[in-house]
């Protein structure tokens, strides 16, 4: 540990960004596993430990990296305050994504399954797109080169699509045991997309996102 003084390596903020990209990868892993339980018929009990351990790892990383950001400000002063605010928000957003992945697992553990349902193809396609957002978010964070317009447009489009599904479930005349789990799942999905979007915004435009309630 003392040798860390003499060794080279990422500067403080670069290190936090690198670790936050790993956190996004962890969050994607949890999301994919939880959705597998919900949509592919996998036994939720078999993947629960993995999802929960990953969530704990995300939470621990968030806490540790927040500490490292405090160290950065203590050592360097307030010059990087904008970036630090952005990274604190980013970490919080990723941590929330992990929580929502765990919520999806909870849904599967409570007996919900979309396997063999008539709308499974649409649900799988939504999951594929959202899972892709995780990868894109990781790349955007790692490259630190602004948010591509196409990403913003696809995120907005997916958010609208999910919201219209939720609206549809709210006014649906189908039985509750069919509509409620879908409404709840889509609610989580919407939060995941919103938090991923906010995460990349927080890293690139921290002050503007500071008032965002997502």
């Amino acid at each position: 540990m003392v040798l860390s003084f003499f060794r080279g390596g990422d500067s403080g903020l670069d290190h936090v960004v690198t670790r936050s990209v790993a956190m996004v990868t962890d969050a994607r892993h949890s999301f994919d596993l939880a959705c597998t339980a919900l949509m592919s018929g996998a036994d939720p009990r078999l993947i629960a430990d993995d999802v929960r351990e990953t969530d704990l790892r995300i939470n621990a990383n968030e806490q540790q990296l927040r500490g490292e950001l405090a160290v950065h400000i203590s050592v360097h002063g307030p010059n990087d305050i904008g970036e630090v605010i952005g990274l604190i928000l980013l970490l919080k957003k990723i941590e929330r994504v992990g929580d929502h992945a765990k919520n999806i697992l909870d849904l599967a553990e409570s007996g919900v399954s979309f396997v063999n349902e008539p709308d499974i193809d649409g649900l799988l396609e939504e999951r594929r797109i959202v899972s892709g957002f995780f990868t894109e978010a990781s790349e955007i964070l790692a490259e630190h080169d602004g948010i591509p317009q196409s990403f913003r447009e696809r995120v907005d489009s997916m958010t609208s699509q999910i919201q219209s599904r939720i609206d549809g479930y709210m006014t649906s005349e189908q039985p509750g045991h069919q509509v409620v789990p879908r409404a709840v799942y889509h609610r989580y999905l919407k939060r995941i997309v919103a938090n991923l979007n906010s995460a990349v915004f927080a890293a690139t435009e921290p002050v503007r996102v500071a008032g965002n309630s997502d």
Partner: protein, 367 residues
């Protein structure tokens, strides 16, 4: 500024610092035996010397600067080793004022203030306790200065009080140039000596301030990595080593200990994490006086610089390595922080009394 240029600037500033120490020594020598005798008698009482050490360090907010000046005074013959040792111990107490003042910045948030004030005062209590235990022992048996003298003789030999330091030769030119400058401006005798002392003091303080500033900029990322490495860990020797290495790098224990305060206030570092870092800073800060001793011509100045190191190591062996003793400063700091949170004015009184009123009274009564 490019890293290479900044590193070169630091080397130049260290050279300037050594010129300052040598100028101080030369100035006192020019002022003659009478002045030396007056200075000598002013701190002949060890408690008065301790108080002068506290006050001097509080004034310049740097034990590196005050101990370097003490080394310069010893080199000039104005102070003996016996008079300098309590002053060095006082410098150790005085240096803790900076992080205690930093902790007062958190006074409006109770929880933050409690953590910050405890992290700051644990350093105070450790240093006060170390002085309370080791100063009487030193005055009676001289074990600390004895060890330092033995090491000093080992390093420069026991051939006499004059030590042919190679660094002394390197800084001789600029010091002679300063002497000539004051000569040409018409100064002579005590006036010239006083001007040399004043110039030396200004050079030492400015050079050290800029060395610290530039070294901090040079090694900030490394400091950050080192502190990250001890986050959430339970302190111990690693944290102590980190404190020492960081302090040697920035040549200022105040920088190291002050960085810890906002981290402790935020709850990122616990009191037990921060405590050993401050002890490492105690050892690290002694390197500046050792550096100053390189520019001095007397073996006694090296003995005094080594006394500072030996005293701090002895304090840690006595009060940190022994588990029951380790808890005393922590408990005292926690108690003090609880009191300060309940009565904020106590925190201000604590700083004023410990660092200003008590040492002033000590000097006034005992000198």
């Amino acid at each position: 500024m490019p890293t290479g240029a900044r590193a070169a600037l630091v080397v130049a500033l260290i050279y300037l610092f050594l010129v300052g120490v040598s100028s101080l020594e030369t100035g006192i020598k020019i002022m003659g035996a009478d002045t030396q005798e007056r200075l000598f008698s002013a701190v002949s009482n060890p408690i008065a010397g301790l108080c002068v050490g506290i006050l001097g360090t509080v004034l310049v907010q740097s034990s590196s600067a005050s101990t370097s000046v003490i080394v310069g005074l010893v080199a000039s013959g104005a102070l003996g080793v016996d008079q300098a040792v309590p002053m060095i111990m006082g410098a150790n107490i005085g240096t803790t004022v900076t992080n205690t003042l930093v902790s007062l910045g958190h006074v409006r948030q109770s929880a933050e203030f409690r953590r910050a004030f405890a992290a700051a005062t644990v350093h105070d209590f450790f240093n006060i306790l170390a002085v309370a235990v080791l100063l009487p022992v030193e005055l009676i048996f001289r074990p600390i200065s004895g060890i330092a003298k033995w090491m000093s003789e080992l390093l420069v030999g026991s051939g006499g009080t004059e030590w042919k330091s190679p660094v002394k030769k390197w800084v001789k030119g600029p010091v002679e140039w300063l002497k000539d400058l004051w000569d040409q401006l018409g100064a002579s005798g005590n006036v010239k000596g006083a001007l040399m002392v004043a110039t030396g003091l200004v050079i030492v303080l400015i050079a050290l301030a800029f060395v610290t500033k530039n070294m901090k900029a040079l090694v900030a990322a490394r400091i950050e990595r080192s502190l990250n490495a001890i986050l959430g860990k339970a302190g111990g020797l690693v944290a102590l080593a980190v404190g020492m290495v960081v302090t040697i790098a920035v040549q200022s224990s105040s920088i190291t200990t002050s960085i810890l305060i906002p981290l402790s206030a935020a709850g990122v570092l616990t009191l037990r994490n921060a405590y050993p870092v401050t002890l490492g800073a105690n050892i690290g800060t002694t390197v500046t006086a050792l550096l100053a001793a390189l520019a001095a011509s007397s073996a006694d100045s090296l003995t005094v610089a080594l006394t500072h190191t030996t005293f701090n190591i002895a304090g840690i062996l006595l009060l940190y390595v022994l588990p029951f003793a380790r808890e005393i400063p922590v408990s005292a700091a926690t108690l003090m922080a609880d009191l300060a949170v309940r009565r904020r004015v106590l925190a201000v009184c604590y700083v004023v009394v410990l660092f200003i009123v008590a040492p002033l009274l000590g000097v006034a009564i005992l000198r």
